[in-house]
């Protein structure tokens, strides 16, 4: 592989998905979730997938399109309220859901991508979410230990990518994407625009291409947002 040209056809990345994989996805309520890669995942027919991401999307938006097919075995997320099918699968015992406070979740992704095994937190102490977490006693104070999260495959979305994988995000579509890229063994980015190496300003790059393995061109958003319906 030429590390200075990571652009491939959508068809080529389908083989990166595998049965039983841990898959981390960028996005917040579907915004910043890569639509073309979601369809590619659905078409790949892999199942028993362990998902990690901010939320469960909506039944017809983002990762939600995959969740409703029942091919995810588990999900680590901060909420699933926007996807009632996810809640139903959870109640039926078909989807194991672990809730993490939203910022703690993205911080755990960052830790996983930055060689930090975990961190201390006071968020959620004494609540239902803290029961299974190790408790640290540091100088007489108690903290929860929040462990790093990593994934086999990460799918992210960017406004622009150069062929090395340097990324520029757009507005609030950045959200968890940088950390998904860092924490995943194999990271695939879907970019709205692909440009030549050297055409992005070094100071305008939000995420260096070192974290990216494959780049595919986006076919654009193919769902209706809640506020459009």
């Amino acid at each position: 592989m030429d590390s200075f040209n990571k652009v491939v056809e959508v068809g080529e990345v389908a083989s990166k998905f595998f049965h039983g994989m841990t898959l981390m996805f960028g996005g917040f309520g579907g915004v910043g979730t890569p639509p073309t890669l979601i369809d590619c995942l659905i078409e790949s027919e892999v199942s028993d997938v362990h998902l990690i991401g901010n939320d469960a999307g909506f039944p017809w938006i983002g990762i939600g399109k995959f969740v409703v097919l029942g091919r995810a075995a588990s999900l680590i997320a901060s909420h699933i309220g926007s996807n009632p099918v996810a809640g139903q699968l959870m109640q039926e015992g078909k989807l194991v859901v672990e809730f993490s406070p939203q910022g703690i979740l993205v911080e755990r992704m960052r830790a996983g991508g930055s060689g930090i095994p975990g961190f201390a937190s006071e968020v959620g102490i004494g609540t239902k979410l803290s029961y299974e977490k190790p408790v640290l006693d540091i100088d007489g104070k108690e903290y929860l230990f929040e462990s790093a999260l990593t994934a086999d495959v990460g799918i992210v979305h960017a406004r622009k990518a150069d062929r090395y994988g340097n990324l520029v995000f757009n507005k609030t579509a950045q959200n968890t994407n940088p950390y998904v890229a860092m924490a995943s063994q194999t990271t695939i980015v879907e970019a709205e625009q692909i440009v030549e190496v050297g055409s992005l300003e070094p100071d305008e790059i939000h995420l260096p291409g070192i974290y990216i393995n494959f780049i595919i061109p986006s076919e654009g958003i193919n769902w209706k947002w809640v506020w459009e319906t």
Binding site: G29, Q174, W225
Partner: protein
């Protein structure tokens, strides 16, 4: 009921002071900007990655410019975009002056329950625990009693907690309360309500600061 929610939002808007950075939760808090004096200089933060959020766009909504509830917004001059880790770093780090969140129950000591009703639909905790932990000041807004008439301002929360001792003020359609080290103070009776009604519909003991 819409009127009740708008009445609470209008009262909560008065808590926002010039120069504050404010994070508003979903539900009733999202109605608050409609009731701000237009000259108020305030920066709204959205935990998905905006500081300086503006009103809903009149047209040309941008699918990449969304608030934490998933709806299109605009930005004001001086706004910035950032990733979610930085957004929550700001929140936990104590850089949000005021957060106004919806609530299911609040205790006399300021414990907040707002994320989970056992046996009902499970939405998940979202960013509420971190706002409760990190915001310098936290105001809980909610209807005064549940649909069955049961009090929501209680001695001890029965619902799963979001965070302990985090709420400093409660605003309902009946009254405004402050939580102080010595207990729950009734600060203000809203128009259309009475002291007797408030005492009867509040489980927690009250220190009455109004005449």
């Amino acid at each position: 009921m819409g009127d009740v929610r708008r009445m609470i939002a209008a009262r909560a808007a008065k808590e926002i002071e010039d120069g504050m950075v404010v994070n508003l939760g979903i539900g009733i808090p999202s109605l608050i900007p409609d009731y701000l004096r237009p000259e108020t200089k305030v920066f709204f933060q959205a935990e998905n990655g905006i500081l300086g959020m503006g009103p809903t766009p009149v047209n040309n909504a941008d699918g990449d410019l969304i608030n934490a509830a998933g709806y299109p917004v605009t930005v004001v001059p001086g706004a910035s975009y950032f990733d979610s880790a930085l957004a929550f770093g700001m929140i936990r780090g104590g850089y949000i002056d005021l957060s106004i969140l919806g609530a299911l129950e609040v205790s006399a000591e300021g414990d907040l329950a707002n994320w989970l009703v056992p046996g009902k639909r499970v939405p998940g905790v979202g960013g509420a625990m971190e706002l409760a932990y990190g915001a310098r000041q936290l105001i809980a807004v909610m209807q005064h009693v549940g649909k069955d008439g049961s009090p929501k301002i209680v001695r001890e929360c029965r619902l799963p907690l979001t965070a302990r001792k985090c709420v400093s003020r409660i605003i309902t359609e009946k009254a405004v309360f402050a939580i102080e080290p010595d207990g729950l103070h009734l600060l203000e009776i809203m128009e259309g309500s009475t002291l007797e009604d408030i005492v009867n519909s509040t489980e927690a003991d009250l220190i009455i600061d109004v005449s």
